[in-house]
Amino acid sequence: MILQNFLLRDCITLDFEFRPLGGQEGNPPEVICMVAHEIGTGKYHRIFQEELYQLKTPPFLVDKTVVIVAYFASAEMSCFAALGWPMPENVLDLYAEFRNRTNGFSYLPGGRSLLGAMKFFGLDSIAPEHKEEMRALALRGAPYNHFERSSLLDYCQSDVDALLPLLKAMLPEIDQPRALLRGRYNIAIAAMETTGTPIDTETYADLCHFWDKIKCDLILEVDANYGVYQDGVFKSDLFEKYLELANIPWPRTATGKLKLDEDTFKDMSKAHPSLLSLRNLRDCLAKLRLSDLYVGSDGRNRCMLSQFSSITGRNQPSTTKFFFGLSKWLRGLIQPRPGMAIAYIDWSQQEFGIAAALSQDKNMLAAYLSGDPYLAFAKQAGAVPQNATKHSHPNERNQYKQCVLATQYGMGAESLAGRLGTPELRAKQLLDMHKRVYRTFWDWSDNLYNATVAFNQVTTLFGWQLNVQPNLNPRSLRNFPMQANAAEMLRLACVLMHEKGINICAPVHDALLIEAPEDQIDKAVLVAQGCMEDASAILLGGFKLASDAKIIRSPNRFHEDSGQIFWDRVMNILDRIKSNENLNARC
């Protein structure tokens, strides 16, 4: 299924030109043309749109004897899907391999694109101006005259021809079987990008249409409890007065001003839940650009998932085009179609579990296996009795939970104290306690850090590597094995789930949103959870991570606990505005 040692002659380089169906972003691709080059025989396939849609299978082999080579292969796999072609057995994505090879480099002369990769290896490539011109032509859509067809095919072939020298330059250093696994993940990505997330398009359209009015009402309504906005503008002096009255100590900058960045608001609203509405308001006023979201004509959010784009190898889709990049309260727009259901499945305390399994810290393993690592940590530290539950000791559990999360984020005592709303000393005590209870983990972490900075490289268990630069934050470095192996785990789970026919709508950090007909969703969730468990066992040498699933059946909406209040508030405002509009229309 995966070629262990393939040669150049086994490869077929390939590129498609495409645009979103009907030219609308958010739609699946409409294939315009394809060029493929069988390196072994030297044969080219140059095929334009109509002919491609007539083909039931690709005009070349895609079985286990060949490797399909592309740059950013998920796009090519999406075109395979759009054409209804069987997926290749072996895919090599030179983008993923280039990212892997240069991951951590602070400077790449031409960036991460195909041209950038060519430049990195000192290879000739086509001029970027020509590239833009051809992309515009592809996006314009049919009809194409003879000259345009020929130009598009030539342009497509120029990218295919560029792949051969790039492949030759990269192949000797490519970790072949694991590279093909990364390639296979592109097939799952293509399926997710094709499926997309179902959106309540009517409410979405209303939100877009009335957003300016909603914002005004939202400020009036939310600010009634704070009094920090003046003429629709947040005023820091008014906020300072509010903080004094509410007796909330607030972090300040070196110059003594209130820290008003997003992270500070996030931390402080966790310590002081009364601030949550204000945080949500600021968040949506500052960031929300609803019209940037990619929603297809069938009401599904689809966008590039940008696999392997982060330093840890995680997906990094656009925060404005991808639904899960928006504020959490907006997830209420996610709604399964009639007769369908969706399920949000995430690994339980994934990073903690990975840390426990990799470091083999007995206390940490026991805490994970208890099912509630935060409470178990409090028990191990002797802070609560052994028969404590999360209902009997919610505050203690929360403190120890925040401490665990703080160590995962590499947070210091000051930030943890801010998040807990306690003196810094308490935060220091908790962090010290973590080091004492999980001593084996910390010894492992120290050793890992020393080994990493000695070799200037660290790699996941499936070969995603980081070249360590001198300016890399030591705390990020210590957290790399947890984060990057979590990304590996997600990739493994997606590959397994796709092969079992699970319809994945979107990956969401350490979670997956799946979809199935309402009467099949329970079974689909079981299968998906089994895949996630298998993925963890494969990665962690047999240690299985559990997962939690939340099923949403039509016509219910997907709400995050912390976001529903704000969603309800916005919906009330929207209803009011629409009623007024109707009244005015009647008058």
Partner: protein
């Protein structure tokens, strides 16, 4: 073209009947691709912390090593004027007189793993009651088996001993021998010759 493409699009994710077998094979294949875990490869050896000499930490709970290997009787000289404590060789006693005090050096460690050498006073054979000394000795005795915190109570003229109400786990003892610890703690502060600057100073020699 567009509609046809859309129809074909919807047909891309048929549930795979043989999916389970396929995924089983995939699982074992994926397992074979896992690289060996090298995170525990030694990248460096952290050198042990060097101890200091002083009193038990009044802010942190401490333990004292109970073993005989970590007890050393010796002479100590407290130079209060310069804030230094010297370790003196036994044959220097005649030069130091009452400035040298016989004590037993003990190894202590606090609950954050920081080692410290402390001086355990001898029992005062003169019969005078010295609550400072006896309470300190008591604290050391207790610290052999319990986590204790010691703080001077000036009004009561003795040390106040607080035993931890929680189990703070096992102490993290340093790996060095007592000799190594003493050499580290008293490096450059050992009086082993009559020409040592301290002896010259107390004898008024230039």
């Amino acid at each position: 073209m567009s509609e046809q493409a859309m129809v074909q699009q919807e047909a891309i994710n048929p549930p795979n009947e043989s999916g389970i077998t396929l995924a089983k094979n995939t699982s074992s294949l994926l397992s074979s691709l896992r690289l060996p875990d090298t995170y525990s490869a030694t990248g460096g050896i952290t050198q042990p912390l060097k101890p200091t000499y002083g009193k038990l930490n009044k802010h942190r709970f401490c333990r004292v090593h109970p073993d005989i290997e970590y007890k050393l009787r010796c002479l100590l000289v407290d130079d209060k004027e310069n804030g230094e404590t010297y370790l003196a060789a036994p044959n220097m006693a005649c030069h130091l007189g009452s400035l040298a005090t016989a004590k037993t050096i003990r190894l202590a460690v606090d609950n954050s793993g920081i080692p410290k050498l402390i001086g355990e006073p001898d029992i005062d054979l003169s019969g005078r009651r010295n609550l400072w000394q006896s309470s300190y000795k008591d604290a050391i005795d207790q610290a052999e088996n319990n986590w204790v915190r010691v703080e001077a109570n000036m009004k009561a003229g003795q040390y106040e001993i607080t035993k931890s109400s929680n189990d703070l786990g096992d102490p993290k003892w340093p790996n060095q021998s007592m000799e190594e610890l003493i050499n580290d703690a008293f490096s450059g502060r050992i009086i082993d010759s009559p020409d040592h600057p301290y002896i010259r100073q107390i004898q008024g020699r230039i």
